[in-house]
């Protein structure tokens, strides 16, 4: 069963008023994410040992193996983007729902401290990569970053409940080189905090 591109949970122009334009979403979802899915399927087709495996299994088994770098890059990016899309919504941001806010305050000290840590992770990921909010193995929330197609699932750093793509293709049309502004906008205007809370409940 080939992997497929998940539909966006909103229209391509739905986030334009919140700082992510229609062209960015069309390219990011329809071209970049689609290219990862297509490439991943190409690898699976040629390698019987990958067939029948889940995306999570492929991400984990290909991590850190030089000869499987192509598999890992594309599987990782399929996994990353699949988490990313529902983490946003039209008119997102705003006040965090109660349980999520309480957990964040408990683990970071304040919502602002969390936001600073998340933005710091994204701004200091040099080159392409991702910023994450994870539930660590100790049960505590933490902000992390990963390069290129990697992610907390592969690196075993916890369960991701929020991810922000900091590849330039995520923000270049809207923010050019101003990645810190993109990260602030992501947290303040794009994040679907109810969805993040639902992932926290399952973590």
């Amino acid at each position: 069963m080939a992997f497929t591109l998940p539909s966006l949970p909103y229209a391509h122009d739905a986030l334009a008023a919140s700082g992510m334009c229609q062209e960015t979403l069309e390219l990011h979802h329809g071209k970049h994410h689609q290219a990862y899915v297509t490439a991943l399927n190409g690898f699976v087709e040629k390698d019987a040992t990958l067939q029948g495996k889940s995306l999570e299994e492929i991400v984990k088994l290909s991590y850190g193996k030089a000869e499987m770098a192509g598999v890992f890059n594309n599987a990782g990016q399929h996994w990353n983007h699949t988490l990313f899309w529902p983490c946003m919504k039209p008119n997102g941001g705003g006040k965090l729902p109660g349980k999520l806010e309480a957990k964040i305050v408990s683990d970071f000290g304040s919502v602002d401290a969390f936001k600073d840590a998340f933005k710091q992770a994204g701004a200091t990921q040099f080159g392409s990569g991702w910023a994450w909010l994870v539930v660590g193995k100790d049960g505590k929330l933490a902000c992390t970053k990963t390069p290129n197609g990697s992610n907390p699932l592969a690196e075993g750093t916890g369960t991701a409940i929020l991810g922000c793509d900091v590849w330039e293709h995520s923000y270049y049309l809207d923010f050019r080189n101003r990645r810190p502004d993109y990260l602030t906008n992501f947290l303040e205007k794009l994040v679907n905090w109810e969805y993040v809370e639902s992932l926290l409940a399952k973590a």
């Binding site: 890059n73 392409s128 290129n148 330039e168 270049y172 810190p180």
Partner: protein, 240 residues
């Protein structure tokens, strides 16, 4: 719309101004430091056959400038390193203090890579001549094969990075890939030429179509200038 003091890493903002003389503090505020953004040797629209003027302007004036600022910030408290030429800093990368090694790698590499990148463009493409052409034929079988192998390297960089042609003292050429702003100088290799395949190098015009950018890039190379770099490498005078 210019935000010259902001860098992707926020490293440009953290200068320890108290450690500097008043005169230097003024320079830093402008901003300044031992390293400066080189002026483009041609107008922003000179590479239109591959790269639009807007991209040139942002790439040079914002991205490259951020690397210069980040490098100056990194060496601000290290006068011995601040006095070294950039190629020597990168060649002796492993000797750099651990506290600033990552900043030197990212910003020093970024400064060196972009300085080289501007210099080799502004031309009209075509093919090299003379000794460089002979070396390409000797090391790759011919210009077409060289170009194809280089483009494959550029396309194969996953995420941000560069494809480079390195050149040794005997004129031997090799094609290498590097992630992010890593410079071959960090491994002791001089750079003849290189193509930036960070998305910021091509996204405004080409979006996800890196292959098209990589193909068009050859249209704006200045082979006379690259030939001079080749001669300099053999003479031992090529720096970045």
């Amino acid at each position: 719309m210019l935000v010259p003091r902001r860098t992707l890493l926020g490293l440009g903002a953290g200068l320890a101004a108290s450690a500097l003389t008043p005169a230097l503090r003024v320079a830093v505020a402008q901003p300044g430091g031992p390293f400066t953004l080189p002026a483009l040797p041609y107008p922003f629209d000179a590479n239109e056959a591959a790269i639009d003027a807007r991209t040139m302007e942002i790439h040079h004036g914002l991205h490259h400038r951020a690397y210069v600022n980040g490098l100056n910030a990194a060496v601000a408290d290290h006068s011995r390193i601040a006095a070294m030429p950039l190629d020597q800093i990168l060649l002796r990368f492993t000797e750099m203090p651990e506290t600033i090694r990552t900043a030197i790698r990212n910003h020093g590499g970024g400064h060196a890579n972009h300085s080289m990148f501007w210099l080799i463009m502004g031309g009209r493409g075509g093919e090299p001549s003379g000794e460089l052409a002979a070396a390409i034929t000797r090391d790759f079988g011919g210009f077409a094969q060289f170009r194809e192998r280089f483009d494959r390297a550029a396309m194969g960089v996953f995420g941000s990075g560069w494809a480079f042609v390195t050149v040794n003292r005997h004129g031997g050429l090799a094609i290498v890939q590097r992630p992010n702003q890593d410079s071959p100088l960090m491994d002791g290799d001089r750079v003849l030429m290189g193509n930036d395949v960070w998305e910021h190098a091509y996204y405004l015009r080409y979006q996800n179509r890196r292959a098209e950018y990589v193909r068009n890039w050859w249209n704006v190379l200045d082979w006379a200038r690259i030939g001079e770099r080749y001669d300099a490498a053999k003479a031992g005078t090529l720096t970045i």
